[in-house]
Symmetry: C2
């Protein structure tokens, strides 16, 4: 939110990405979650930080909401792998001024997440710091995991409205309240169940969750294994809340939808030979998925809007340092 650029998260992740896949660490660093194998059991593990004035502001959410969201956001990474979330741990950084009541609100947020997502807090660590932060690590079991990295000419889908969470955040900054949009920012719902169904059926060639923005996460999705891949998405097909138009200009809506982030919706591609089966299954089971475009071999991300193909540069929200 408020960081001066110096170098960005991608550079740092590259630095840490030297750890390659092997017989016990199946997917290498850089995917949504690590896939490990212990004896014959596959597990997905992911960690996520929520830091005050970086990932949240205490003026925009209650502590309970922030704690709940810390778990949601971490679980969304497991959803993106098709994992079955089971447990989480937390490292809590508490500033001096915090009261016991404020800390108990963290616990209440965790309890809500436990109930809502059927996961269990198994341990944690509390430490004093100048900055309030919650680091959550989630662990799930895996049967058929879905990595990033699409093939060409595959259809691209999202699991729900895009841009709403960023709109909610912008409304909070403007001191306005729209229940639907603000809720989407404050309490995103990781699409765990949908992801489990889609991956168990063998439909998907790749999947990611939208954290930093549709544009940048689409690029991460399609180019993960093959740099030559690209995609075209159709503006009119991207599901968007009708409420966006109540508060924002067309230009702002375009930016929020493509570059906003924080949606935690799934973004995935379907295997070509499963396309028909997938479409039937989705219709028969009334699943919330929306086709928004197609992968291609252009090496670039395009958005088709008002009869024009717009090339998107490395966009979206990348944490700057």
């Amino acid at each position: 939110m408020s960081n001066e650029p110096s170098f960005n998260e991608i550079d740092i992740l590259k630095l840490f990405r030297s750890n390659k896949a092997n017989s016990s660490f199946l997917n290498g660093i850089g995917d949504d979650a690590a896939v490990i194998k212990i004896k014959n059991q596959k597990l997905a593990v992911s960690c996520d930080s929520q830091i005050n004035n970086v990932h949240f502001k205490l003026e925009f959410s209650t502590i309970r909401q922030i704690a709940f969201r810390a778990v949601s956001v971490a679980l969304s990474d497991l959803a993106a792998m098709g994992a079955n979330p089971l447990f989480f741990t937390n490292s809590l950084h508490i500033p001096k001024g915090f009261s016991k009541k404020e800390i108990s609100l963290v616990k209440k947020g965790f309890i809500k997440a436990e109930e809502e997502f059927n996961v269990q807090l198994i341990g944690g660590n509390v430490a004093s710091s100048k900055v309030f932060a919650i680091d959550v690590t989630v662990i799930g079991s895996l049967n058929n995991y879905i990595s990033r990295g699409s093939y060409k000419d595959e259809k691209i889908y999202v699991s729900g409205n895009i841009g709403s969470a960023n709109a909610g955040l912008n409304l909070l900054k403007m001191k306005k309240l729209d229940k639907e949009l603000v809720q989407k920012y404050r309490a995103p719902i990781p699409r765990v169940e949908l992801a489990k169904i889609l991956s168990s059926k063998g439909f998907l060639s790749s999947m990611i969750d939208i954290t930093d923005g549709l544009a940048i996460d689409l690029e991460r999705l399609v180019k993960f294994k093959r740099k030559s891949l690209g995609a075209q998405i159709i503006w009119s097909r991207i599901p968007k809340s009708l409420n966006l138009e109540k508060y924002f200009s067309k230009k702002k809506i375009f930016e929020m939808v493509l570059f906003g982030g924080d949606d935690y919706e799934l973004l995935f591609t379907v295997k070509k030979d499963k396309q028909r089966y997938f479409e039937n299954y989705v219709k028969n089971n009334n699943l919330n998925v929306f086709e928004i475009g197609t992968t291609n071999a252009t090496g670039d991300i395009f958005i088709y809007k008002n009869g024009k193909n717009i090339k998107i540069k490395n966009g979206g929200y990348v944490h700057k340092f």
Copy 2:
């Protein structure tokens, strides 16, 4: 190091300790590491925070040492369970001023830990923060796990010198350098291999690692399951570096050994019916363990020194908020 008391870590842990053991979470919150069961595989999971000016100071250690120590300290919790460490993740909080080179030193510290302890970094998360911090979560496999909670009339052991790490920290504050003592503070070695051997042989009734001080961790060890338990340890039997006397008064040495913390040595009790077998095994295999006292049913912790039994109040270093 520098926190004003408001309420302490124990209070907060109690708040989070409502999660009880069940069929998939075997030991409940409060032990050194969580023991979980996924299908038939038991795992130990633990997380630990290293926060600038709380757990370390950049003037006392290099960034590489701090990163290495972050992994060591987390692994020590797995050692205390008798686990076999396999993987770790990290959440990195990086302040604005950090250079790429400084971040690469974090990576170098992790690589050293990977090599030294045969564990693998499987993923992480980087975020900007005002405070430099490293949160590490470690995962290991478990066969026979050792919980806290001794029985009475069992012998108490430690795995190495106590008080050295705190002495090393104090020397750094005094701008003095003693290689042995400072090294013990900067680069503690988690006693993973020793713990694996001792637990696999079925010798132990309970185990913990010494993080906050011998006195407080002894109390946590013996009273974990039975509040009525107590212990007597013998001052002269506690292994201590001869170098302590070069720099510190007798009073200060007493404080550092009992209340200093940061040693990451194992503290454990041996089952009465395995005592003889244990003693023979230790002798034949030349293992570094030191008998320092006996558990009892007094409900209190005593130290025997110069012909006197001194009762120790809730001592040691508990993180204050």
